[in-house]
């Protein structure tokens, strides 16, 4: 943990005084910690010369930022137009039943977070999901279960 704290301090120093540094700092902090804690946002506020409320206001405006620790794996279901007309809703149903959670939640064992994204841009393979950084396409409920099983093993 010492190491992460050091990296965070280095990050703050590297971006101190640069214009437009708020969002990159929030992004890099989230990458490092997995989410944005109130303490980290307060530190970013001091470094950027803004109030904690301003930082919180910026962070909550954007869909990318999380304020709770995520699961070890993140399952993002694409809800782009092509995925919608090709059955993204039934993928949601499958995932909710398999994982026992709603979109935006994390499983009790901390294994999976379930998220919704506006579009992954792989429309020709609709419907798609992104498990961590890998896109899986041309899915049905059955194929999605296989993706989950592979992820678990």
């Amino acid at each position: 943990m010492e190491h992460v704290a050091d990296s965070f301090e280095r990050l703050l120093e590297a971006w101190r005084g640069q214009k437009g540094n708020v969002i990159p700092l929030l992004q890099k902090t989230q990458k490092l910690r997995g989410f944005l804690s109130n303490e980290d946002m307060a530190r970013i506020a001091r470094v950027t010369g803004k109030s904690p409320a301003e930082i919180y206001g910026v962070a909550t405006f954007y869909a990318q930022f999380r304020f709770q620790p995520p699961g070890r794996h993140t399952m993002k279901v694409c809800h782009g137009t092509a995925c919608h007309v090709n059955g993204a809703d039934s993928l949601d149903t499958t995932l909710k039943m398999e994982l026992g959670i709603e979109t935006g939640q994390t499983t009790a064992d901390g294994e999976y977070s379930l998220e919704k994204v506006a579009c992954l841009g792989c429309c020709s393979l609709a419907p798609v999901v992104m498990l961590d950084s890998e896109v899986h396409g041309r899915l049905t409920g059955d194929k999605l279960k296989k993706v989950l099983r592979k992820g678990k093993s």
Partner: protein
């Protein structure tokens, strides 16, 4: 038969998702096992996404494109074509494949041809020659004049004249100015910018450098969606390469012109596609739009004059400067010049990234290039322009692809998302889908956008949920008008378009939902019921396994049933059944099998 000189694997995001990396590895392993020294290289998006993974085999005698590959077929390809010298006919995509033959590629000319991570490849394809010509022989005014001659209009959707935009930025007050590239491709169903950045990043950088020279900027920001990691990675590689070769940075190609580009990752807000919101976001603030005027050309990023264009717009610039504006203007219609890139998706047979000349009809794009509807179902509508656009019905398919003709239909050209819908798509549900998107993406600044879209969404949900009233149609029209008039930015002004166009062309579907509780596309869950057809059911248990709520039940080899009060109409049983033994009912037929309240209570108690 000439010997194979190179194997090229399409490694765009779509290719990778379809398994191109496994194909790549299989090719390498098979060649190594056979002791062959044929180079295997990678390229970006070849465009025929529906045939991914794709591999091109290059020989002195020609190029052979293979599609729908997997590891096994890749090994077969090595054995037959590389070793045996004869193409594998059944895997080959023919040269006259209509999908490829009917396109006209200017912006995408290098996509799927060059290695996007190789500057040498780009240089060999006339890369940076336009920039060299500009820096050695043209004044900024001459560059702007050339772009004005070309007739190029903004490809982000609004279609403003690019040359005019540049001249406004150039003639703005002296001092520091910025260039911005909008790569915040937010429309769901659109992936043109991603594919271009992944496949030919240098072309966009070159276009930006030329624009910067024209307006007098020395610094630029590219605002790229965070959901596009591969595009960001390849852009960063390209910027590094260009800097090393003095194609970017200080005193480019030995001239007095210096220019640097920063890549900014977006943080997930659709409204940031709007230019003033995008600039607020670069400055590190909430991405909320501001009133125009002042336009960015007067007061943009950090208060300085700023020129902002979309990825595809910049992608057109090198060609225009190499070949001349007049040559470019030969393509297209009187008011819409050049080509347009579309992301063709949805219920289309041959989807992917395509580039067609302006003036082509929608029918030609969908049925000529795209091959028509998948599964040979009936065409219903094509959606253009994402949440800001609209749905165009079959009766208007002869409409030309140009800014003004498309606007007249109630849709817009948009950034290039083209989602095809068939008879199994519910138009009320499509309107509801887009409203739920714009409602959640509204930044909240304008009351009518914030609350008006919410009320519109509730009304649409009511109709889809079987609780609609006939007065809802008038209510939607009224709200649509008010949201359009009283919103500051494009998000709110165009948010009603999907509702207005579906009301204009498909009002009978709204009325059926309201009056008969019928969803003819059988998509709205509240208006449908699933039922087993006893005559066709084989008792295979596939539906029972797929059902998440234990509503589909039965014993092996006996006719199954669906317990209606447990069923959530998710359709997974319908997907799983291989014998067409599940039917979908709607309207009075659905009402007849739906559990009554008393029945539901009984079922719950049992």
């Amino acid at each position: 038969m000439s010997a194979v000189t190179e194997l090229v694997v399409g490694l765009g995001s779509c290719g990778i998702a379809a398994g191109a990396r496994q194909v790549h590895e299989a090719l390498l392993a098979e060649l190594a096992a056979r002791g062959l020294k044929v180079p295997v290289t990678s390229t970006g998006c070849i465009g025929a996404c529906h045939r991914e993974p794709l591999v091109e085999v290059r020989t002195a005698g020609g190029r052979f494109l293979y599609g729908d590959l997997d590891a096994g077929k890749a090994r077969q390809l090595v054995e037959a074509h590389v070793v045996g010298g004869s193409p594998v006919q059944e895997l080959l995509i023919p040269e006259d494949y209509p999908y490829l033959a009917r396109q006209r590629k200017i912006v995408l000319a290098n996509c799927g041809v060059i290695d996007p991570e190789s500057l040498e490849d780009y240089l060999a394809a006339e890369g940076y020659q336009a920039l060299r010509k500009v820096l050695t022989s043209l004044t900024p005014e001459q560059v702007i004049a050339e772009v004005q001659t070309s007739g190029l209009r903004g490809r982000g959707g609004a279609g403003f004249s690019t040359g005019l935009k540049w001249s406004l930025a150039r003639s703005s007050r002296p001092g520091k100015r910025y260039l911005v590239c909008n790569a915040d491709e937010g429309d769901p169903g659109a992936f043109m910018d991603r594919s271009l950045l992944e496949s030919d990043p240098h072309a966009v950088l070159e276009g930006m450098a030329i624009a910067a020279y024209a307006i007098g900027a020395d610094e630029a920001y590219m605002y790229v969606r965070a959901e596009y990691p591969l595009a960001i990675k390849r852009l960063e590689i390209a910027i590094q390469q260009a800097k090393q070769k003095k194609l970017l940075g200080t005193r480019i190609m030995g001239s007095d012109f210096s220019f640097e580009i920063h890549v900014k990752e977006g943080a997930g807000a659709f409204v940031c596609g709007e230019e003033t919101a995008l600039m607020s976001s670069i400055e590190g603030k909430r991405g909320m739009p501001t009133l125009r005027p002042p336009f960015p050309a007067e007061r943009g990023l950090w208060g300085a004059p700023t020129n902002i264009n979309n990825v595809e717009t910049y992608g057109n610039v090198p060609y225009i400067l190499r070949r001349g504006g007049a040559e470019y203007a030969k393509l297209g219609t009187a008011k819409s010049k050049g080509t347009k890139v579309f992301a063709l998706a949805g219920k289309i047979k041959h989807g992917g990234m395509i580039e067609v000349p302006m003036g082509i009809t929608l029918r030609e794009v969908i049925f000529g290039v795209g091959g028509g509807i998948a599964g040979d179902k009936k065409f219903k509508a094509v959606q253009l322009g994402g949440p800001s656009g609209g749905c165009i019905p079959e009766s208007l398919l002869e409409v030309q692809v140009d800014y003004d003709s498309l606007t007249a239909t109630g849709a817009i050209m948009g950034s290039g998302g083209m989602v095809v819908m068939d008879e199994s798509t519910c138009m009320v549900d499509v309107a509801r889908y887009f409203l739920s998107f714009t409602q959640s993406e509204s930044c909240g600044k304008c009351t009518f956008c914030r609350i008006g879209t919410k009320r519109m969404l509730e009304t649409l949900e009511r109709i889809c949920g079987g609780q609609g009233r006939m007065s809802d149609i008038d209510l939607l029209q009224e709200l649509a008008l008010k949201v359009r008039l009283a919103s500051l930015c494009g998000l709110g002004q165009t948010a009603p378009n999907p509702v207005l166009t579906t009301l204009r062309y498909f009002q009978e579907e709204y009325e059926e939902h309201i009056r008969e509780k019928r969803c003819r596309a059988k998509q709205c869950r509240a208006l449908i019921r699933y039922r087993v057809i006893p005559e066709t059911c084989t008792g295979c248990l596939a539906c029972a396994k797929a059902c998440p709520t234990q509503a589909a039940v039965g014993e092996r080899k006996k006719v199954h049933t669906i317990i209606q009060d447990k069923c959530i109409q998710c359709g997974l049983c319908f997907q799983a059944c291989r014998f067409d033994a599940i039917e979908v009912l709607t309207g009075p037929e659905a009402a007849a099998v739906a559990p009554t309240d008393a029945g539901a209570a009984e079922g719950g108690a049992a």
